[in-house]
Each structure stands twice: as C-alpha cells, then as structure tokens.
Amino acid sequence: MKKTLALLALTAALAAPMAAQAHRAWIAPTSTVLSGNDAWVGFDAGMSNVVFQPDHAAMRFSDLQIIAPDGSKLEAKNSATGRYRSMFDIELKQEGTYRVANVAQGFMAMYEQGGERKRFRGSEADFATAIPADATNVQASRTFTRTETFVTLGNPNETALAPTGQGLELVPVSHPNDAAEGEASTFKLLLNGQPAANVDVTIAREGQRYRTATEEVATKTAADGTFSVTWAASGLHWIGASVRTDGANGQPGTNASYNGTIEVLP
C-alpha cells in the first residue's frame, strides 16, 4: 500500500514536468549568414522531442512574423505543410538582419467536474461559455509562445530584433548571427518587455540522432535577464525557456515560452 502511494506520487511528479516540456518547437533555417545582393533562405518548422528532427508534428503557423532589416514585414513564399514539418522560403533583398518568428497565443484551462480532471483548449472568449457550471478547481492560463530564428544578408543590424514587449523574447547582447565555435554569446530574456530574471534556459545542439549523449546545456538568466553560452561545437542550436506566472484575483495565469534557433559556425 505504501509502495503504491509512493509510486503514484513519483508518477505524478514525473508526469508534471513531462507535460510541460513535451515536444519542442523549432524553426530550422537552411542558412543564416549570406552574402551578395539577394538571397533565398528556406525554413523547416516542426515540433519534436529531438530538436530539428522532424518526426512528430508540423508547426501550425498562427502568426508568422517575418521582420526585414528596415523593420517592415515580409511575406513567406512557397509555403507548404508536410506531415512532420511545415516549410516556407523568404527572399532577402535588403542587407541586414531578418527575424523570422511564429507567434502563437492561446488559452487553456484545467478543471475538475464530478471528480474527473478535464482540460479546455480554445479561445479565452469561448472559455466562459464552454466551462460547465459545476466545474471546480479551475486553473486557467493564457499561453504565449514565440518560436523564431534569425538570418543576415551582408552586414548585420538590429532593427528587426527590437522587442515587441509581449511574452518571452530574446534580445541580443551578442548578435544572434555572430555565434562562432569556441566563443561565447550573451543574450537577454525579456518577459513582457521587462528583464526575465532567474529563468531556466536549455540549449540543445542539432544532430542528436548521430550521437548518444544529448549534450544539452542548462543555464539560468541573471537578475538583468542575461545569460551566456560558450559554443562548444558548430551547428544549429535550440534555445528554450518558459515562464509561468500564476493568476490572481480570478485572472488567468500566463505561460510564456521562447524557442529560438541560433546557428554556430566554425
């Protein structure tokens, strides 16, 4: 009896973080550093346990925000959705840095009804009518997920990297297209425009399929929201972080997540 309880507790403890972290979202660019007067870059986007390995689900583009070096918006071209990955191209005609992001805002809630745990996913507007009158232990959350990467034609600039002030965002201290093997990069995380202190950051390198160790790096943001990483190897790197803010006074809480892709060159 005791053993069963302990097991149950363990299962619950394991299940909670698993649920929160399952399936990482990523955007993988075909290249990030380009020269010449114009260039094309393709992007694959998906969700999977092993980053950049399309084997689970294609990404749904709820709000694709492609910002050109002068701050204007750019349209994706040649979009398609496969089973495991979504794809699109952009044409770079302006010199500078482009920010390519998929921003997803949603609403979810957990509640109990007649002793049974239930989940709601949908819009916040629908929630009020969708929730049963006899629901108890209601835990509602607004979700805000930014999945993005950066590419640069010619000389980098930072106009497109200006934070929007919404959700969890990465702003450069080091330029995101200036990452080199053996060197360190520093970035800053902002939550709704303010420095996000003491946030766990996970950094995962591509190609895990061809090695046995995950080689993930875990770090934390400092009081000013900054974190640094020394790039041990070249390749695409996924940077993941999330911040949960509990709701108060009947207001829903917030789950803000960030998924960034940085290419490290040799």
Partner: protein
C-alpha cells in the same frame, strides 16, 4: 652624453608620428595545385589584423567578379567565414586596390604601397590569409609581423594554402 636621450626621443617621436613612412608591404601567397576532378579556383582574402585580432583592413579579396548561371560571385564571399565575420561583410565590393579576380594555382603577390599604409601605426600585427574553395575546404594562415622597419615573416598552410611570405621593405 646629454644629447643621446634627446636623439632617441626624436627618433621615437618620428616613429610614432610617421611610422614606417617609406615602407612597402608585400605578401606572397602560394595556392597549391590540387588534384581534383572538379577544381575551382579558391576565393582568397588577405587582411591585416590588430593585436586584439580585430580586422585592421583588407588588402586583397580574390573572387568571381561577375554573375554566371549559378549566381553572382558575391554570393559566396561568406564562405571565407573568418574574413566575412571579422569585417568583410562591412566592406562594399568591388573596392579599389582590394578586389581582384580568382587566381590559378601558383605564387601570387599582393603589394601594398607605403602611401596606402601611411596611417598604420608602428606595432605588431598579423597578416591573415584565408582561402575557401568550391567543393573543397577552407584554410586560414596567420603570419605575425612587426610594422615599423624592414622585416620578413613566413608561415605555411597545409591544405588550401601553401607558403605565405610577408616582407616589409623600404
């Protein structure tokens, strides 16, 4: 006895104000013959690096200066990754006295006249040569040298570059 320090000071001041006034810089770069069924001439960049490894200036960039069926020659400048990142990306090409077409295997010389280097203060620098070849590899060779008086320095690559010789002459 009293005059000696004065003379030294004058010499030092002259050196600082007009360092190596009449010195020319010559960099000779050997591009090895590489046996390959699909040999393409490499892109090559030659530049001066400051002691803190930042780029002082580019001396030569050899690349395809035209557009062909595969694209514009500038599309592959980024393959000289070190040069590109250190400052090549900030230069507008073609640049007078810097841009040139790609070169065949053999020995090539980059000569920089004293007039182009008159604003380079005396000190320790490094000549860096980077070669990147289509369907081939990439190599960087560094040659530390002293700018201030006649001198020579050498280093050698092992794959995409052969001997690199730096000579400062009066």
């Amino acid at each position: 006895m009293r005059k000696l320090p004065l003379v030294l000071t004058t010499a030092a001041m002259t050196a600082a104000a007009a360092p190596a006034m009449a010195n020319n810089l010559t960099v000779s770069v050997e591009l090895p013959r590489i046996a390959s069924a699909s040999y393409h001439r490499p892109y090559v960049a030659v530049w001066i690096e400051n002691p803190d490894q930042t780029m002082n200036r580019s001396l030569a960039v050899w690349y395809q200066q035209t557009r062909n069926a595969e694209g514009d020659g500038k599309d592959w400048l980024k393959d000289m990754r070190t040069w590109w990142r250190k400052g090549g990306r900030a230069i507008s090409l073609p640049a007078d006295g810097v841009s040139g077409p790609t070169k065949a295997p053999g020995r090539h010389t980059v000569s920089v006249s004293a007039s182009r280097l008159r604003n380079l203060p005396a000190g320790n620098y490094t000549i860096v040569v980077e070669a990147a070849r289509e369907l081939g590899g990439r190599e960087v060779v560094r040659v530390p040298f002293r700018w201030g008086g006649p001198t020579t320095a050498n280093a050698s690559g092992s794959s995409e570059l052969g001997a690199v010789r730096v000579a400062v002459t009066r």
